[in-house]
């Protein structure tokens, strides 16, 4: 009995020692994350409830007035709607193109390793710098994109970055272009985990390629598609570089999404309170997506 109690207390003491060591080891990382991520987040929430001056100082407490003024602004809803459109269409196109490229790369032929390497290039290269390259590509008179489109029969391609709707499409395409390689790689990696014999028996049964894709490949990729789509949704919603570098939201805010608009409100128009409200709303939307992502991530881990 006494012996039992002794081992129990010993074990609990060792356990606390181990726990104490663990907390000590986590402390430095936790401190910087709290100091430069969590504290700024709290500060932004605080800022959203105050009036601010042009330097960003909190002046008078405003309660929910800032939220009311932002939420009653039609411009805000237009930008939020555009953000959702941007994310929805962007992720859909990324996933579709990623799937096609993954299917192409899953066929065995000489040189497919090289093709795989080349397909990753947009993801591998520095995003802000390749977006700068795109602004040259889109240049109407001297740029090679419109020239090439004309060669392929499009007589008068639009002035991409100077007009609202083509501008938005042009930005969206650059964002898609950056995101496709990740999708393709993840899907490819998932396809290679599907047992070969499933396809072989399908071949013997005389099933065509399209049916194989619908009945074998897609169900086999279900979990991967979910995870990749959620992750991509976060990245897409959050993409600052493509729009800010290409059009800075212009002409006349017609290509702004929440992320770029909130940045401009703070650093260009110096309306920090308004920017803070938009930041809080953005944070809430992103948190919902992240939690769903984490859920599926852990589901995948457990299955393994």
């Amino acid at each position: 009995m006494a012996d039992n109690a002794l081992t129990l207390s010993l074990r609990s003491r060792m356990w606390t020692r181990e726990a104490r060591l663990a907390y000590l080891m986590l402390l430095p990382a936790a401190l910087v994350v709290v100091g430069f991520m969590i504290y700024p987040l709290i500060y932004v929430v605080l800022m959203s409830t105050y009036k601010t001056n042009a330097l960003g100082w909190l002046t008078t407490f405003a309660g929910i007035k800032n939220f009311v003024s932002v939420l009653s602004d039609t411009e805000f809803w237009r930008i939020t709607g555009r953000s959702l459109l941007w994310t929805g269409i962007g992720v859909f196109v990324k996933a579709s193109l990623g799937m096609i490229i993954a299917l192409l790369l899953n066929v065995k032929y000489r040189g497919r390793k090289v093709a795989r390497m080349l397909f990753i290039a947009p993801w591998a290269s520095s995003v802000p710098i390749s977006v700068l390259l795109w602004s040259w590509v889109y240049t109407p008179e001297f740029g090679l994109l419109n020239h090439t489109l004309e060669v392929f029969g499009w007589a008068h391609p639009p002035v991409w970055l100077g007009t609202p709707i083509p501008g938005f499409i042009a930005c969206m395409w650059v964002d898609v272009w950056i995101g496709v390689p990740f999708m393709a790689l993840v899907f490819l990696s998932g396809m290679q985990a599907i047992p070969e014999d499933q396809y072989e028996s399908a071949y013997i049964d005389g099933v065509n390629s399209f049916q194989k894709f619908i009945y074998i490949t897609l169900p086999g990729l279900r979990n991967i598609i979910l995870i990749a789509t959620l992750l991509s949704a976060l990245w897409t919603f959050n993409d600052f570089n493509a729009i800010y570098i290409l059009t800075a939201g212009g002409p006349v805010n017609s290509t702004d999404i929440l992320i770029t608009s909130l940045y401009k409100n703070a650093f260009v128009y110096l309306k920090f309170d308004r920017a803070a409200v938009m930041a809080v709303i953005t944070f809430l939307i992103l948190t919902v997506i992240s939690i769903v992502y984490a859920k599926f991530y852990f589901k995948g881990e457990r299955k393994e």
Binding site: M25, V32, A124, F142, L144, F182, F298
Partner: protein, 281 residues
């Protein structure tokens, strides 16, 4: 090796190759433009109608960007920021990753979950208040400020990746070391870290690339020309010299090469880290 490529795989192969080439042309389009632009003189950049193959290939742009456009300064800033970030990040992520992988403590599961969610945190959401905080700490317009935020925003993913690697190391190796009288610190430094070297390299390269590619923080916190990293320097360059696309293409080529090389080293493990157990490495 006939059985490697069963007959049903061979049908439609030329079609696949043609389609692959079409998609490659689309995906590599800006890089083709970059290469053909950097190899021509300014007169050939502004030809109407434009053409793909330069009439006269020249390498003069490399000399020009190097001598006249402060490219070296931008490179130096990018290198300082990226290396500093990598060091700070790995020093903090190793103990945290080890604790999560190996030690039992209350809240371990919560910590793991939090790290995954924090990894998704948007820098734009906090950049406004970070600006205020940096102003108070006199960190605006310093390399150190960028090093801290870049290290913080890569921390969750680093800890996540590293703890995954530490977990794959068999417990028996550590137990054997402790029986031989090694302390916990010795075990980590002399046994765990060398075995986890591939994981360390992946984490460090990921962090380096993140810092090298950062545009948002540099745009918000750096004002002087001499401290701008490549991303911001080239962005301002376009603003000021918007007609010099041949020089921008050359500078972009030089700026992209280091990250491209590093990225290819880690891409496989990066995908596995992001997509979790659903993907094999």
């Amino acid at each position: 090796m006939k059985h490697d490529t069963p007959a049903w795989r061979n049908r439609g192969k030329p079609f696949v190759i043609i389609l692959t080439l079409v998609f490659l042309f689309i995906m590599l389009f800006p890089f083709f433009v970059m290469i053909t632009t950097m190899l021509r003189s300014s007169q050939e950049v502004y030809a109407t109608p434009p053409y793909w193959i330069p009439h006269q290939v020249t390498f003069e742009n490399f000399a020009i960007v190097w001598s006249q456009y402060q490219l070296l300064t931008y490179f130096k800033s990018s290198a300082i920021i990226a290396i500093g970030t990598t060091i700070l990040n790995i020093l903090l992520a190793i103990p945290a990753g080890y604790a999560i992988a190996r030690l039992r403590f209350p809240g371990r599961q919560v910590a793991l979950y939090l790290f995954l969610v924090v990894q998704m945190f948007s820098p734009v959401v906090v950049v406004i208040s970070l600006f205020k905080i940096f102003a108070g700490l006199h960190l605006l317009n310093t390399y150190f400020g960028l090093v801290i935020v870049d290290a913080v925003f890569t921390m969750a993913f680093s800890v996540w990746l590293l703890s995954g690697y530490f977990r794959t190391i068999p417990m028996e190796i550590e137990e054997a070391a402790s029986i031989d009288g090694a302390t916990r610190l010795q075990t980590i430094l002399l046994i765990i870290l060398p075995i986890a070297a591939p994981g360390l390299v992946t984490t460090m390269i990921y962090t380096f690339i993140y810092a090298w590619n950062d545009f948002l923080f540099a745009l918000s916190f750096i004002q002087t020309q001499g401290k701008m990293p490549l991303t911001l320097g080239l962005y301002r360059f376009v603003g000021r010299w918007s007609s010099q696309w041949h020089l921008l293409s050359t500078a972009a080529f030089l700026a992209i090469i280091p990250v491209l090389v590093l990225f290819y080293i880690i891409q496989q493990r990066l995908v596995a880290g992001l997509a979790g157990g659903a993907v094999k490495e």
